[in-house]
Symmetry: C2
Amino acid sequence: MDQPPRLRGVLAPVVTPFTHDLCPDPERFIAHCRWLLSQNCGLAVFGTNSEANSLSVEERIALLEALLAAGLDPARMMPGTGCCALTDSVRLTEHAVKAGCAGVLMLPPFYYKDVTDDGLYRHFAEVVERVGDARLRIYLYHIPPVAVVGITPTLVERLMKRYPTAIAGMKDSSGDWSNTKTMLDAFAASGFDVFPGSESFLLAGMRHGAAGCISATANVNPGAIDRLYREWRGADADRQQEALNVVRKTVGQYVMIPGLKQVIAHYAHDPAWVTVRPPLTELTAAQAQQVLAELQQLGFTMPGLERVAA
Amino acid sequence: MDQPPRLRGVLAPVVTPFTHDLCPDPERFIAHCRWLLSQNCGLAVFGTNSEANSLSVEERIALLEALLAAGLDPARMMPGTGCCALTDSVRLTEHAVKAGCAGVLMLPPFYYKDVTDDGLYRHFAEVVERVGDARLRIYLYHIPPVAVVGITPTLVERLMKRYPTAIAGMKDSSGDWSNTKTMLDAFAASGFDVFPGSESFLLAGMRHGAAGCISATANVNPGAIDRLYREWRGADADRQQEALNVVRKTVGQYVMIPGLKQVIAHYAHDPAWVTVRPPLTELTAAQAQQVLAELQQLGFTMPGLERVAA
């Protein structure tokens, strides 16, 4: 089988809904994914903002199976498959590739610190070799503020050289534009797709050859982010970028993940959405009120959400 | 069933041997555990130095089952069961408790950073409630240099108050004696067993009410560490501590885990022991030579290792 077309544009690390007893909720998950697709937003399920690292391997597999069973298109999916344990990363990656996912977003193994590029190279190489599937397309996930262990340009170069089809790109969630620019300048021209990990760098990214962005806020503001992705050459682009930044700042002013869930709960009229799995905690009532009041003041909406969620 | 007696004394985070194709090697694992028990060393299997975070849940369960099938006493075991995902921690903890293990060593969920004590409390509380077994005895694992997410005295106090039998103690691998002393002063008198995470703090720990220590180096130097544990009140104690420190410094002068495996490979005449799973890498030949030469100069031995390993 051939590789599906490359993912470009805007993707959301889809937030994972939980039932009141903290189990993943496939129905709400499917509904939210459907809505994101309706907004032209790709599905980077099982990212950091998906609380994926609070899910077991089996829970991730079951949720992906639920999306497929509901008829959602795997060619629009980039599931997160990078775990601490080599065998877990292999298992999830294999499952995603066999399901026809366009790519996988792969954290480096993040428990052991001060590991070498040699060790990380061996890890990713083992995953590629063990999965052994020509359709495999890995997006390396660089998020040092959370994973601490990061992806250096030297590592990217070495992996690309050895696995030119499997090493397809990266998500840069360093929050550091100079790092994203370094990666873009070094690798974008050779077909390595760099996605900034926040829409705050979408315009700057597109001006330097980015493939789009993968951003938490795309869970709630996908339409506007996608519009800037399509119109970044327009005269209006800087103004659009500023507007995106204001929404992002508002939603994430306390803690991003419970903030996103609070916003979805409100606009979907579905309070169950606020639940997060420990170690995270929900926003306080006062925090929630503040976020929602500020969004209202901005005239923020989530068009079509209620219909799809119903 | 009653709880097994409390673990005290010296425990090793047992290093995990791998075959040449990076699979866990139950035979060598059993042999090494037998040798440790013969040296009066308890088995904190699946700790940081066990590369446990590079193992899947199934791999840990299979290795523990192998130890039990080989007749090793679970009352001498404190397996590591703390994962990023609540459901994984519950599954491993449940398995260990049902197997009759004396306790479990539990990392906090360590992917998400800047989490609150409230969130960590909820996590540990969920594990206790879901396991729902009166035999459960949790040792909280504080290792901020690696896990980044740590265990504060406030969290310990809150958990002990709510779960006085389940919250049994902690391993403090902060490497910061003042933190260990704070924990000892605050909780040791109420029966909360504090294990420093290195034998370098064994003597100081015992003088302030520690329950022993859980240390990487106990994989190779268990007899001498156990001797200081038993003789800490003796006139010779400070000299013993100094000798332990020299061995630790020698073994861990490059990177601790591959250093330990190199030493075992050498003294067991079993080169296969050097293998580590990515993201770790083996010592270079020059590093290995240096470590072994220095140990020889110290007159270091691992008495009985060959016999048990054979």
